[in-house]
């Protein structure tokens, strides 16, 4: 399992910090890249992550209306939702991209989002085959 999480500094990253402070135990197979805003997560970067063999990619941003940058996260959501349909079309599967806005601000929420994503990905077909062929 290889999960990459893009966490916005004002929501997901605060959740990550909170989960740590509460010592909530999580499986270690995920890595976090902090971003100033979820809007900085380029669709290209998500695709690159899958091409590098990630099992899943998550983007955690602030709730709609709660973005520090006016409606930047609004635009981000639209872009990423669109990307999901493309991932479906390519066979990678849109479900491997988790888009979560405003649901990971508290430590326990963050932990729940991560855990659920792990469980969800476990039920999906292995990616070994296509990553091996890369």
């Amino acid at each position: 399992m290889k999960i990459l999480i893009f966490a916005c500094k004002w929501c997901g990253l605060i959740g990550a910090d909170g989960a740590g402070k509460k010592r909530i135990q999580l499986p270690p197979e995920f890595r976090v890249i902090a971003v100033e805003c979820a809007a900085l997560v380029e669709p290209d970067a998500v695709i690159r992550a899958f091409a590098s063999g990630m099992t899943g990619v998550a983007v955690l941003g602030c709730h709609l209306g709660g973005c520090r940058f006016n409606d930047a996260n609004h635009a981000a959501i639209k872009r990423l939702e669109l990307l999901k349909t493309l991932l479906d079309a390519t066979g990678i599967g849109g479900k491997r991209l988790l888009i979560s806005f405003g649901t990971a601000h508290e430590g326990y929420q963050y932990a729940e989002v991560v855990k659920t994503f792990f469980e969800e990905l476990k039920t999906m077909p292995s990616t070994v085959a296509w990553t091996a062929s890369l």
């Binding site: 909530i24 135990q25 999580l26 499986p27 197979e29 805003c37 997560v41 380029e42 940058f69």
Partner: protein, 570 residues
């Protein structure tokens, strides 16, 4: 690539209880980019910070990776302390090994150690590509534009002029005074509205620092904090203004209750505002009046309380009573909103004067009786459950204030946001008079329905906030942060690569990007002082022309490559 120094913090055992830091240090030593590495007991102690800073200097390393606790814990403070000791912020990478690793993976020491190394190598790889945005400093024009000459705008203008700043007061109507020109007397002092506003209006005439622009229309606003360029057409013709700050005091408008309570069909069913207008003309003989509250407010469509309609009804109910003590006056309400000691006393005064209060349910609104004229009102008193029939010759509907139509247009020009109803959004909750665009302030009913007293207080507050900016000689792009802490950076365009597609212009939430003609092609120009570094433009740029130097696509790509060790890389 110049060298990187790696410092790993044990945090008195909190980190190394789970993560094998010594093995990480050995791995770091083997990395070609790392020129120095160390494991410390506690980086955040002053002693160790001093030591760390001098070790970085001695090692000749240009960049440094700190592995310790999270930014929100002490990590941010460690970075700040290193910056204070002369190390560039963009040359410091912080890896959270405590909150994001050791503490959440206690049961998996091996996995945690592996992850810790990956996180460190991601940071090393990212640092390779990280640059600092170049700053610009621009002088501040010490003048302000205030949009709207209601109580809020007038008190802001007066405050700024008293401080010695030149003010351009731009008003859509012909006269200063705003909504107070439309109402007869004001609660809670019951003085004439024109009296209340008089000192402020006189100030506009007398004070040479206040330029008044009647019948004005704002055509465009460009620029940034300290230097806005405004095009206004007014009765004085088309003008260009250069101002350092913009205060929005454009108020709100009254919602009209078409379709409710047979308004417009029955004579003598009027709005509160129409009653005010009649009172301006003189006393009005009323035998029995019924006021209905929350008409079009606190419902599904407009769940907010407009705050000024309950006190207005109390004011006018008492006035009817005073003009004709025999008159019967009823206020049909869902709740009476009179917060604070002054308004509560105002409510008690109305009770004492014999105004009757009847509560009804939102689901059971009163009904109008009569054919051409209103003859009575039928209401189910929600306290007793009884139906009451009130004879009357006047029904007054209290309707809320709603946002002006051109708020959205102004917001768009300035890179602001309006809330779900259309009022200008403040920076909630810490900066109630400021917006997400530096140099733009809001006050009065433009921000949220208020009474005129509150509008004036807010006007003074917004003026004080604006003065802090206008009084500074210059602003620098990197000092303009609308989020806590340092500004991350700002987006930069590679003029050679840019094809002028305009994607960035379309998505920028702060209207910081625009296309500029360069010879035969157009290229995107990003205003460093308006840009807040959200990265939206970066994400939609088709050829990577726009980048945030602090975290460009190469940095992200390099980090992804290292995320699960070299072997996961392509």
């Amino acid at each position: 690539m110049s060298g990187i120094a790696v410092f790993l913090c044990r945090c008195f055992g909190e980190v190394n209880r789970v993560i094998d830091l010594d093995s990480l240090q050995k791995k770091a030593e083997r990395n070609n980019d790392v020129v120095s590495s160390a494991v410390c007991e506690s980086l955040c102690l002053a002693d160790d910070i001093e030591k760390t800073a001098s070790r970085i200097r001695e090692s000749g390393a240009e960049k440094v990776v700190i592995g310790g606790c999270s930014h929100l814990a002490r990590g941010g403070a460690v970075v700040d302390a290193l910056v204070e000791r002369g190390i560039k912020r963009s040359a410091i990478g912080l890896v959270d090994l405590r909150e994001a690793c050791a503490w959440i993976h206690k049961d998996h020491p091996e996995g945690a150690t592996e992850k810790a190394w990956d996180l460190i190598s991601m940071e090393i790889a990212g640092l390779h590509h990280r640059r600092a945005s170049d700053d610009v400093t621009v002088s501040v024009c010490p003048e302000a534009m205030i949009v709207g000459a209601g109580p809020a705008g007038l008190s802001a203008a007066r405050t700024l002029a008293q401080m010695g700043f030149k003010v351009h007061l731009v008003e859509r109507g012909s006269n200063p005074g705003g909504m107070l020109n439309l109402i007869s007397h004001v609660y809670p002092s019951d003085e004439k509205a024109s009296e209340k506003i008089k000192t402020f209006v006189d100030e506009v005439d007398k004070n040479s620092l206040i330029n008044f622009y009647p019948k004005a229309k704002i055509n465009s606003i460009t620029g940034f904090a300290g230097n806005f360029n405004v095009q206004v057409s007014s009765s004085a013709g088309e003008q260009r203004l250069r101002v350092g700050a913009v205060i929005l005091a454009s108020g709100a408008r009254v919602w009209l209750p078409h379709g409710l309570y047979r308004y417009g069909k029955l004579k003598n069913v009027i709005t509160q505002m129409e009653l005010e207008r009649q009172f301006i003309k003189g006393p009005r003989e009323v035998k029995a009046a019924v006021f209905i509250q929350c008409v079009g407010a606190r419902n599904h469509e407009r769940p907010y309380c407009a705050t000024m309609c309950c006190p207005s009804s109390l004011k006018n109910a008492v006035r009817i009573k005073e003009e004709n003590p025999d008159a019967r006056v009823f206020i049909l309400h869902r709740d009476i909103m009179t917060p604070g000691s002054v308004l509560e006393a105002y409510y008690r005064n109305a009770l004492a004067k014999g105004v009757q209060f009847i509560r009804f349910e939102e689901t059971n609104p009163p009904e109008m009786l009569g054919n051409e004229r209103v003859e009575g009102v039928e209401v189910i008193d929600s306290v007793s459950g009884m139906k009451r029939k009130l004879e009357c010759d006047l029904v007054v509907l209290s309707t809320p204030l709603i946002p002006n139509d051109d708020n959205v247009k102004l917001a768009h020009m300035l890179g602001l946001q309006v809330d779900r109803y259309g009022f200008f959004s403040e920076i909630y909750p810490l900066h109630p008079l400021e917006t997400r665009m530096d140099g733009v302030f809001i006050c009065g009913s433009a921000r949220w329905p208020v009474s005129s007293d509150n509008a004036m207080v807010q006007g003074e507050g917004a003026a004080a906030k604006a003065a802090a900016l206008l009084g500074s000689k210059a602003v620098s792009a990197l000092s303009l942060s609308r989020v806590p802490g340092e500004k991350f950076g700002h987006a930069a365009v590679n003029a050679e690569k840019c094809t002028g597609c305009g994607n960035c212009v379309a998505v920028c939430p702060f209207a910081a990007c625009r296309l500029q003609k360069m010879g035969r092609k157009s290229i995107s120009r990003i205003n460093k002082l308006r840009c807040k570094a959200c990265g939206n433009c970066v994400s939609v740029c088709p050829n990577g022309t726009v980048q945030l130097p602090e975290q460009d696509y190469r940095a992200v790509a390099a980090m992804i490559k290292q995320a699960f060790g070299e072997e996961s890389a392509l």
